[in-house]
């Protein structure tokens, strides 16, 4: 049994680096997508075990990506963690509405994030 695969859909380079570092150290394989469309494509290419999803993304945003994946029978079981610098209630609620499993706010604590991932996997 190989490592669990985590897809990170995030447009900010530095955040991608940070997630990659923390996830790799904790023994996960990391796949990167830099916009919404690429993210959806990579879900169907690689079938990750979990998705970390930003909201403000080029092409299609995080909500659209989440909805698309949760409405598809092949991908709806994949847990999705929203990771966003937006903090308003309305955004968090919308994240739940479109089927997100968890909402983590930026700046995030790596240890907490890993705990959540472990719980979801």
């Amino acid at each position: 049994m190989g490592n669990k695969k985590i897809l990170v859909i995030e447009d900010q380079k530095s955040i991608v680096e940070l997630l990659k570092l923390n996830l790799t150290i904790n023994g996960y394989d990391v796949i990167i997508a830099r916009d919404g469309e690429e993210g959806v494509k990579k879900v169907f290419d690689k079938y990750p075990d979990l998705i970390i999803l930003d909201i403000k993304l080029p092409k299609s945003d995080g909500f659209q990506v989440c909805q698309q994946l949760k409405n598809n029978i092949q991908t709806k079981h994949i847990p999705i963690i929203f990771l966003s610098a937006f903090t308003q209630k309305t955004i968090v609620e919308k994240g739940k509405e479109v089927g997100g499993d968890f909402f983590v706010q930026k700046p995030f604590d790596a240890i907490e994030l890993i705990k959540i991932i472990k719980k979801l996997l």
């Binding site: 447009d11 923390n22 080029p58 610098a85 937006f86």
Partner: protein, 482 residues
């Protein structure tokens, strides 16, 4: 406490009008009737008295001669004949000793006359008795006493009285009827006025009175109509003003709400933009402290922290600029600028990849420009920076400076992918980022072009972009020379 007794009779105007007409006509009729009756009575009495005189003359003629000749039978015949007249009750011939010689009433004959003459015909009820002396050549033979029946007279007077009263009653009934109709005619316009006034009182000023006459009622109607007209205009005016004011209020309220929404949206976007580099800074600082990293990793991550810190500083600077521009607190430091010199200074100060060529085309005798040098430099650097991001290696950027009598026009053209038409309008908006790979790589504040637009507009200039998708884009701004 003083108690006041007041007799208050609530009568309708019509009733009052009818009552007054009725009172006046009743008084008139009573006077008329009474005078008529009196006149009739006098006439009848007069007639009776004439009859009395006629009978006297007749009897004197007939009786006197016969008495002298002592022809009693002829007298008797004549008396009987005359007594047949309905107004003669009796006739008696009486001698000087008051003894009745002859009488139409046989039972009285040869008796002392019991009947006394009546004094005044007006005081007699049934029989008016009058005596006439029988004299000839100063010799008195006795007298004749006649009883005139006044029954017919009384009956005639009664009939006349009843008839007069009857006519009066009919007249009063007619007067009531006519007065009724006339008062209705007179009151109808007043009633209409009352109705219209009621409608006006309820706030409906649209109804008008139909004016039919030119009298005081008509004039009152005209006044009422003009009052309604003025009220109508007044309320319409007021309503319009209220409506306008309400609309204005709604409009400004809407604008305020929009502003408020924009403000909270701005705040949440600012928070988002600040959190992103902070996340990297905090995340990597913690990783450096807690994880076992190689020297190479440490250097790499520290560089990220440094860059993100710089980015944070730039974002804060941009936010301050945009907030100064929007609140109108942006102060320009105007100096005279040598545009060609400024452009070469900018080109020398920025890092240009070797495989990208920058052309500068400037009109000759370029005039001095009066503007804030640092801010203008900020605008040009921002546009060139954007152009560099989109220009692929081997591409070129052309900076062009021209002038007219009024304006100085500077354009920066690249041969990058260009901008889609629908995006051209949005690129100057705050936080707008294109849906393209370069934009996602670009980690700026998303405020560069809106700050540039603000700066140019504060110089009373214009900034815009022209592009055909796939054929590069051109950013142009013009500034007035004065």
């Amino acid at each position: 406490m003083e108690k006041r007794f007041e007799l208050k009779i609530d009568l309708s105007y019509k009733t009052k009008l009818l009552l007054s007409i009725l009172t006046v006509s009743a008084i008139m009729l009573i006077i008329l009737t009474l005078s008529q009756i009196t006149f009739l009575r006098n006439t009848l009495i007069e007639r009776t008295l004439i009859r009395v005189k006629t009978v006297e003359a007749l009897l004197n003629e007939i009786v006197l001669d016969n008495i002298i000749e002592k022809d009693i039978n002829s007298i008797k015949k004549s008396i009987v004949l005359i007594t047949r007249q309905p107004f003669i009750e009796f006739i008696s011939i009486i001698d000087n000793n008051d003894k009745i010689i002859l009488s139409s009433n046989n039972s009285l004959e040869n008796r002392i006359n019991p009947n006394k003459d009546s004094k005044d015909i007006r005081e007699v009820e049934k029989i008016f008795i009058k005596s006439f002396p029988l004299e000839k050549d100063k010799k008195r033979y006795g007298y004749v006493q006649v009883g005139f029946s006044l029954q017919k007279l009384t009956k005639d007077i009664e009939t006349a009285t009843y008839r007069s009263f009857g006519i009066s009653i009919v007249a009063i009934l007619l007067i009531i009827g006519v007065a009724w109709i006339i008062s209705d005619k007179l009151l109808n316009p007043l009633r209409e006025m009352k109705n219209i006034s009621d409608i006006i009182a309820k706030g409906d000023f649209s109804k008008r009175l139909n004016i039919k006459t030119k009298d005081i009622i008509g004039e009152l109607g005209i006044s009422l109509n003009s009052m309604a007209e003025q009220l109508y205009d007044l309320t319409n005016n007021l309503n319009r003003k209220i409506k306008e004011a309400t609309l204005e209020l709604e409009e400004s309220n809407k604008k305020l709400k929009e502003l408020d929404n924009l403000k909270s949206e701005f705040v949440s976007l600012v928070s988002h933009e600040l959190r992103t580099p902070l996340t990297a800074i905090i995340g990597f600082a913690k990783a450096n402290r807690t994880l076992d990293l190689t020297e190479k990793q440490k250097r790499k991550y520290l560089l990220i922290i440094e860059n993100e810190g710089k980015r944070l500083a730039k974002i804060i600077e941009d936010f301050l600029d945009i907030s100064k521009i929007e609140s109108g607190k942006f102060v320009l430091d105007i100096t005279d600028i040598d545009v060609p010199e400024l452009i070469s200074e900018i080109i020398n100060s920025i890092k240009i990849p070797e495989n990208i060529k920058i052309n500068v085309e400037l009109s000759k005798n370029f005039p001095k420009l009066y503007a804030d040098r640092n801010r203008l430099k900020q605008v040009i650097i921002n546009i060139i920076g954007n152009a560099l991001k989109y220009t692929l290696s081997g591409g070129k950027i052309t900076i062009c400076g021209e002038y007219t009598d009024e304006d100085i026009i500077i354009s920066i053209k690249d041969d990058g992918p260009g901008i889609k038409k629908e995006e051209l309008e949005k690129i100057f908006n705050k936080f707008y980022r294109g849906n393209d790979d370069v934009s996602s790589e670009n980690e700026g504040s998303g405020l560069g072009l809106s700050i540039s637009k603000g700066i140019i507009e504060m110089h009373k200039g214009n900034i815009w972009a022209e592009s055909e998708f796939g054929k590069g884009s051109k950013f142009i701004f013009s500034l007035p020379r004065e």
